[in-house]
């Protein structure tokens, strides 16, 4: 009898141990996934997968403007976010998102080594050091998993088949200087925005503003559609000191009103940006893109110098300069800010003829363009914020290029005669960010488990029709310093469960 009792007790103890190992007594991980309506389907699919590894997950759909302040205030724990970068360098993606208290650091991630590496990468001119710093950051965040790494979406645009010499750009800009239309000399572009906001290159509210402005104005350097920097108003440049760059200006360039474009115009352009309140009392929101730039000064009639307070990488300066179009000093001071935005004048391949920033803009060829006149006589930018209207207009032949086509209408467009769908590598990272400051996501094992628990392939295939690429971290393949050896977390529910168990769930 006594022995029998012991056996029963032992068996009970043993089953307790087994039950514990099986996680019977562990807490269940509860996860509320916040999202805006546009990604609700995706969030639902993710939640279903998380439920399969024993996480009690559910979706909550919000209005972006309501959700955003709550995220920033640290009141939410898991949220679907995205962040774009038109820099082709992690500078304006990794820095705001990963640096301690960065503007876009919604995960509240903080790591001394990452901060130091990112500081190095934005303050040294040596590309080898910068690259190795970025590689270190990627390795660290891959392991730390501050959030659930996601994917990058391609830019999908569609055009009529008779448009030549045009391709969508990674930064959504539409540079139509080299474009032509078979059987015509006029091109109409259906823009995804409701308004480009302004004609003043010093205060562009969005990428869409630049889409148009880059056709009217030139900058010192320009982007190719895949993000490479090429000379434009500057013919060459060199670093003359750790914090000093000299640019040689192209000669014989004229503004569309006939005034010559001089070094003084370049200096004036940057003065407007650097001086607080220089644009009729308002400061340029773009100032910080230039880094610790002190001043831009005239050396002689063809040379201009950029003087920095501290070392600043050449690649960052060049990427920034793409966004600063040169304005005519004489004309602008003559007509004032209001006169300038009413009738902008630049040195670009097309000049503004008529239209308003929130309906349609008609540009005409600038026959005196320094690189030779464009093939098109006329370019029209039409604001068509409603995606289905853009597609309808393309199908009816009213527009020749439609910006931002939704993945689910691509099939229909491809089947339509006379229309071709084109894509460019995207520059926006989509992810599920986690609040690393509070339980349960203050435990890296839980964050890693989530990275293993989600099978992205069917989601990207079914919802984004294959127009998305998985990312190993938030670093984009199109950017400088991308580590191609890091592979995205594989889908491994067993490992996810094991990690959760180790973390006490």
């Amino acid at each position: 009898m006594r022995r029998g009792r012991w056996i029963v007790l032992l068996a009970a103890l043993l089953s307790l141990c087994v039950a514990d190992a099986q996680g019977v007594f562990a807490k269940t991980l509860v996860l509320v996934l916040d999202t805006a309506a546009n990604r609700a389907t995706e969030a639902q699919a993710i939640v279903t997968q998380l439920n399969q590894v024993g996480i009690n997950a559910q979706v909550r759909v919000w209005q972006t403007s309501v959700l955003q302040p709550q995220i920033i205030g640290g009141q939410r724990s898991a949220y679907m976010t995205d962040w774009g970068s038109a820099y082709f360098d992690p500078f304006d993606l990794a820095v705001p998102k990963l640096v301690t208290r960065g503007r876009g650091n919604y995960s509240f991630y903080s790591d001394v080594a990452v901060d130091k590496d990112l500081q190095t990468a934005s303050s040294t001119a040596n590309d080898v050091i910068r690259k190795s710093a970025y590689f270190d950051v990627q390795k660290t965040i891959y392991k730390d998993a501050p959030w659930v790494f996601g994917y990058v979406l391609q830019n999908i645009e569609a055009s009529s088949t008779n448009v030549d010499g045009w391709t969508p750009a990674a930064d959504n800009s539409e540079t139509v200087y080299g474009a032509s239309v078979r059987g015509g000399d006029s091109l109409v572009i259906g823009m995804r925005t409701d308004s480009i906001g302004t004609f003043d290159p010093a205060i562009p509210p969005s990428r869409d503003t630049e889409t148009v402005l880059r056709n009217i104005f030139d900058a010192l350097v320009a982007h190719t559609p895949d993000g490479k920097v090429v000379p434009q108003l500057a013919t060459s440049w060199r670093r003359v000191g750790p914090a000093t760059y000299d640019f040689t200006l192209r000669t014989g360039v004229k503004f569309q009103n006939g005034d010559p474009l001089t070094v003084d115009d370049v200096v004036y352009t940057f003065q407007r940006v650097l001086t607080p309140g220089a644009i009729s009392g308002q400061s340029s929101p773009r100032k910080d893109l230039l880094g610790p730039l002190l001043r831009v000064q005239k050396l002689d009639d063809t040379h201009v110098r950029f003087v920095y307070a501290a070392a600043f990488p050449e690649v960052l300066l060049l990427q920034a300069l793409v966004h600063f179009q040169v304005v005519p000093q004489k004309y602008l001071t003559q007509v004032g800010e209001a006169g300038f935005v009413a009738k902008p004048i630049g040195s670009g391949p097309f000049r503004y003829v008529r239209g308003t920033v929130d309906s349609q803009l008609v540009l005409e060829r600038n026959d005196g363009y320094w690189a030779g006149p464009a093939k098109l006589r006329e370019v029209v930018f039409r604001m068509m914020p409603e995606p289905s209207t853009r597609v309808a207009a393309l199908l009816s032949g009213e527009i020749q290029i439609a910006q931002e086509v939704a993945p689910d209408v691509v099939g229909r467009l491809k089947a339509s005669p006379g229309i071709v769908v084109r894509t460019a590598e995207g520059t926006r990272s989509y992810q599920i960010e986690l609040n690393d400051k509070v339980a349960p996501f203050d435990d890296p094992r839980v964050r890693q488990a989530l990275n293993y628990a989600i099978n992205w392939d069917p989601i990207l295939k079914d919802i984004y029709h294959g127009y998305a690429t998985r990312l190993a971290t938030c670093f984009l393949p199109s950017g400088f310093g991308y580590d191609p050896t890091l592979k995205p977390y594989p889908y491994d529910p067993t490992k996810a469960k094991a990690l959760l168990r180790a973390a006490g769930y």
Binding site: G197, P205, D288, D358, S388, T389, A392, A393
Partner: protein, 336 residues
């Protein structure tokens, strides 16, 4: 209506507009989000510069101070400067308003042209097949979302048949000399036939979309008030006098039946203004509705406040016009 009473009503519009502006101001500020943050998007900007921009735009001031600033400017006849576009709001509204008035007027014309004959027909022959068709169509028209109906029209007439343009106000290739800002009026003044044709083709679908709901409601009102009027003693008297049936319907019954129709029309102007926001977005129509929608998304308080005040004034004005029209249609009302 006596001139004094009209003046009274006009003056009443001022406190209404101001009150609505205050409401709009506080409800916009209740919504989370900050125009500077929205404007900057994903740009890598330092916290210091964000604060500086907020300071320049007075967004760091207490709400009451911001409201006082707004009213201070208003007292000087200045509607303020748009946060996003950095242009005077009055200019922006002046640019957008003609397009909206043109669209609304076109919608009204289309609605009246459809609704009055249909309402008349179905009232003259109640329970006939034509009456049934009118009733069921107007039910459909009143319940159809403008967003959906607009897209449907685009698909059928612009994409499949390619007889009308999908969106916009005029062909971009046509240069029109602006005189009044009204596309149709300007093309007539400047004898620009191509522009007129293009403008009319462009306005048709958005006006039909906007006017559909209005036509439906109006047709039903005309029908019921005509039925009512046709049963009145003065109609019997007119018939007894030997007046022709057409004259009975048009001169005697319709004139009286129009009074409720005018009320409905006046109240619907407010609906039309609301509908403008959707229709102008779908058809990329560069009017006030789209301006307001953009401004709300960008949290451009200054623009929204000014536009909301304008809406309020329009609403009051529409009601006033209705009251004046009453006295024209029914002189008895003057005595009350």
């Amino acid at each position: 209506m006596r001139p004094l009473r009209i003046l009274q009503r006009v003056l009443l519009a001022i406190p209404v507009a101001l009150g609505v502006a205050v409401l709009a101001f506080f409800s916009l500020h209740l919504l989370p989000g900050d125009p500077v943050q929205i404007m900057l998007g994903d740009t890598n900007t330092s916290a210091a510069q964000i604060r500086a921009m907020q300071h320049e735009l007075h967004l760091d001031q207490p709400l009451t101070t911001q409201l006082a600033l707004f009213f201070g400017q208003l007292a000087h006849g200045n509607l303020g400067t748009s946060i996003v576009q950095q242009r005077p709001v009055s200019t922006m509204i002046a640019e957008a308003l003609p397009a909206t008035i043109e669209l609304t007027a076109a919608a009204l014309v289309i609605a009246v042209l459809i609704a009055i004959p249909l309402g008349l027909l179905s009232a003259v022959k109640p329970r006939s097949w034509i009456d049934r068709v009118v009733l069921s169509t107007s039910l459909l028209g009143a319940s159809m979302p403008a967003f959906w109906f607009g897209l449907l029209l685009i698909l059928v007439f612009a994409v499949d048949f390619r007889v009308l343009p999908t969106s916009g106000q005029i062909d971009a290739t046509i240069a029109l000399q602006p005189v009044t800002g009204f596309t149709i009026v300007d093309s007539i003044i400047t004898h620009n036939g191509a522009a007129l044709w293009s403008a009319l083709r462009h306005v048709l679908m958005p006006a039909l979309t906007l006017g559909a709901v209005f036509a439906a409601v109006l047709a039903r009102t005309v029908r019921s008030s005509m039925l009512d009027a046709m049963g009145k003693q003065y109609v019997t008297t007119a018939r007894a006098k030997g007046v022709s049936e057409t004259a009975v319907v048009v001169k005697h019954a319709l004139r009286n039946a129009l009074i409720p129709a005018v009320t409905v029309a006046g109240l619907q102007v407010g609906e039309l203004l609301g509908g403008n926001m959707i229709v102008e977005t779908v058809f990329s129509w560069p009017g006030l509705g789209r301006l307001v929608v953009n401004a709300i998304f960008a949290k451009d308080y200054v623009v929204v406040q000014a536009a909301v005040m304008l809406y309020a004034i329009t609403y009051v004005a529409a009601n006033l016009v209705v009251d004046v029209a009453y006295t024209v249609l029914d002189p008895q009302l003057e005595l009350r």
